[in-house]
């Protein structure tokens, strides 16, 4: 059973070096049970190395990893489901047999595996492909099969590394839905991605890393609130001159049809609105914008630099 009060996963001052290169530097993080935890950062930030240490493929040079309340060890691997970013299938092996093999590697009995395989293939609309060889499947279908391989043994911790890359929009939605179902059924999920928009929609907690170091972590909603910048999205006619005031506005950028305006710390949206109204500007849109993860990330990276 999952203890709701204790973290599923604890990383304490974890560091991993490859020769001269430090891939992960002094990373401390906690993942709480039953939540979707986003590991976010640009390519090469150290996400995959971190995950490989969590699934016990590599061992940290220093620091400590604790999973399900125990120090990391091989037997815990059976309770983890892992969809790596570098993923593949045996090309000449039939889909059904392949899934059965991966299930056996997680100590699942053959009969139980067969039952679950049929259910999962049906759910992801792959039933008719069960006896086809992997090489005959499209890339998207292969990816679904790989996903099934990572959940077939009903792991307590599911780690998905860039699960949406290469999927068509319909499949992306199906995958999101499936991930949220896993969360509902009590699984803890670590989602690693560089696509901030996806992380924003799925994650409860996030940890951002950049250049092998943690930039910040926490509850996504709180992070956003604490980061509430005064950003206003505008759609106006004839406001050009008004937005040049440095006392009021620090930055202006164009986002599609919208003009996004970043206000100074002292200013408030009310003042801006009043100015616009006073100047008889025609306003078709005036909206307070929540900061995106992207904004937060960029700001935090600048801050820590």
């Amino acid at each position: 059973m999952i203890d709701e009060t204790k973290p599923t996963l604890i990383l304490e001052h974890v560091t991993k070096r490859f020769g001269e290169f430090t891939a992960v530097n002094d990373l401390s993080v906690q993942v709480r049970p039953g939540r979707v935890f986003g590991l976010i950062g640009p390519n090469g930030a150290g996400k995959t190395t971190t995950i490989r240490m969590i699934v016990n493929i590599t061992i940290p040079d220093s620091g400590r990893i604790e999973l399900f309340g125990q120090p990391m060890e091989t037997s815990l691997q059976d309770r983890i489901g892992y969809l790596p970013e570098e993923r593949g299938l045996y090309r000449k092996m039939k889909v059904g047999e392949q899934l059965r093999f991966f299930a056996e590697l997680k100590n699942l009995s053959g009969r139980e595996a067969d039952k679950r395989i049929d259910a999962w293939l049906k759910k992801l609309e792959l039933s008719s492909w069960k006896d086809k060889r992997a090489k005959d499947l499209s890339k998207g279908m292969q990816q679904k099969v790989q996903f099934i391989a990572s959940v077939i043994h009903e792991p307590d911790l599911l780690i998905l590394d860039e699960p949406f890359s290469g999927l068509d929009p319909v499949s992306v939605d199906l995958m999101k839905e499936t991930i949220l179902e896993q969360k509902t059924s009590g699984k803890t999920i670590i989602l690693s991605t560089h696509q901030m928009e996806i992380a924003e929609k799925l994650c409860d907690d996030i940890c951002m890393i950049n250049k092998s170091r943690k930039v910040f972590d926490g509850h996504l909603r709180e992070v956003r609130r604490s980061f509430a910048q005064n950003v206003v999205a505008l759609r106006t006619e004839g406001a050009d001159g008004l937005l040049d005031d440095p006392e009021l506005i620090t930055n202006v950028r164009q986002n599609g049809d919208d003009t996004e305006v970043l206000l100074t710390a002292d200013a408030s949206p009310q003042i801006l609105l009043k100015r616009l109204v006073d100047a008889n500007v025609k306003i078709t849109k005036f909206e307070l914008v929540e900061p995106t993860l992207h904004d937060i990330f960029v700001a935090k990276v600048k801050e820590s630099a």
Partner: protein, 440 residues
């Protein structure tokens, strides 16, 4: 353990089920039959009508003997040459001799007398007949045949070694018999008197020596190891590289440690190899039993030797197969792997050469050390076992070293493989590999 068996099962089932395996299993024996039986059959093929040979007998009394020797082609005991020609040593001449013995062509013989004509006239007329294909060849027996006169053989096809050998032997035989008769020696009595003895070699314990049979057993073991390593080494290599190429390695390592994975792969592929070899062996035994009757075709060897044969064959196979596993863990494509593994296979050839020396002095220090060196031991220790069986502790030590080497190599391979996988994509240099091995 379950995971290990899952890997073994996958490697085995996926390979045995392929069309390639089925085809190779069926074609293997057919090809080897093709290389051994068919040439023999082809030489023995009757090429139409028997060769027509005219014999010009100038001695006046030799025709009957020569003709009967030629048509009655049977061996006489005292002329039997050693039946076992060392493999490879037989020159074209000897091979023709042997084949001539094996094949029994018929000849259509014809007696030609001079009848007052000169020899040249007769020759000219025979030459015309040969040219007009009325005749294939003719023999001229000179008047002084018994005293060193050389017979002549004229034929359209002088390249026909087999016929030439046969005629030469027949004439010698006839001349010899005639000389004996003329010197008043009873031919049959001479046959009895000159009966050869057979040197029965016995070990000091009194048991009959298995030396000769043993040599062929060792040679067979060496060939078997060599062939199976060449055939299946590539398969091992491919199996190790497969997960790298398909990028499955990471999923596997998130489920199990690399040593049982490597071991499982090796055992799985080896079982495939043994299945195929087993099918071939059973087929071979069945066919030869059917062809010759089992008692005569299989020499009597103690069952212990067969057990040693099996044990050392397995050890040899595993040691060399693990070499391919190590190589596979370092490279990214099968092609470069094959090139890298080749020099190691040369050890097998070296072992065979060393074993020629060991056969003569099976208890020399060289023999001892060669049978402890794991890459030689499968062959050299087997040589010692069949020649002058060494103390049991030496056999066990040699086996122990061999097994330890194989396991050590698998450990090395799994180590290199795991670390190498994390550095995806590029070919490793040797210093890098060394660092990986030491790295935790």
């Amino acid at each position: 353990m379950n995971k290990f068996f899952a890997v073994v099962k996958r490697e085995y089932v996926q390979r045995v089920r392929t069309r390639f395996f089925v085809v190779a299993t069926i074609l293997g024996p057919l090809v080897s039959i093709g290389f051994t039986v068919v040439p023999a059959l082809m030489i023995g093929l009757k090429t139409g009508a028997p060769p027509r040979i005219a014999i010009v007998d100038q001695t006046g009394n030799m025709y009957e003997r020569v003709a009967s020797e030629i048509s009655d082609n049977e061996e006489r005991p005292q002329t039997a040459t050693p039946t076992m020609t060392p493999p490879g040593a037989a020159g074209a001449r000897e091979r023709a001799q042997q084949t001539a013995k094996m094949v029994k062509p018929d000849y259509a013989l014809e007696r030609v007398d001079l009848n007052g004509r000169t020899l040249d006239e007769v020759k000219a007329s025979l030459d015309r007949r040969v040219a007009s294909r009325d005749l294939d060849a003719y023999l001229i027996l000179p008047p002084n045949l018994l005293n060193g006169g050389e017979p002549e053989y004229h034929a359209r096809n002088t390249a026909d070694m087999i016929t030439k050998e046969q005629l030469q032997r027949s004439i010698s035989q006839a001349v010899r018999s005639q000389r004996l008769v003329e010197n008043g020696i009873d031919e049959r009595r001479l046959d009895e008197l000159s009966k050869p003895i057979h040197l029965k070699a016995r070990g000091v314990g009194g048991e009959e020596s298995k030396g000769e049979v043993g040599f062929f057993l060792v040679f067979g073991a060496a060939m078997l190891i060599y062939m199976s390593v060449l055939l299946y080494g590539q398969v091992v290599l491919g199996a190790v590289i497969e997960e790298k190429e398909t990028r499955i390695a990471e999923i596997l390592f998130s489920s199990m440690r690399s040593f049982p994975l490597m071991m499982g792969k090796l055992i799985g592929v080896s079982l495939v190899a043994l299945t195929q070899l087993g099918i071939w062996a059973v087929t071979f035994v069945a066919v030869s039993a059917w062809a010759a009757g089992i008692s005569s075709s299989i020499p009597h060897i103690s069952p212990f030797i067969f057990i040693y044969f099996a044990v050392f064959f397995l050890m040899g196979f595993f040691i060399y197969a693990t070499v391919y596993a190590v190589v596979g863990s370092m490279v990214t494509t099968t092609q470069e792997g094959g090139q890298l593994a080749m020099p190691v296979v040369l050890f097998l050839v070296a072992a065979l050469f060393v074993s020629f020396n060991i056969i003569r002095s099976p208890n020399s220090p060289l023999a001892f050390w060669a049978s402890m060196f794991p890459f030689f031991a499968p062959i050299t220790m087997l040589v010692r076992v069949v020649t002058e069986t060494p103390p049991l502790w030496q056999i066990l030590l040699s086996l122990g070293i061999g097994i330890a080497t194989a396991v050590g190599l698998i450990w090395l391979a799994s180590r290199i493989y795991r670390v190498g996988m994390l550095m995806t994509g590029k070919k490793a240099t040797l210093p890098e590999v060394w660092r990986w091995v030491r790295q935790e």
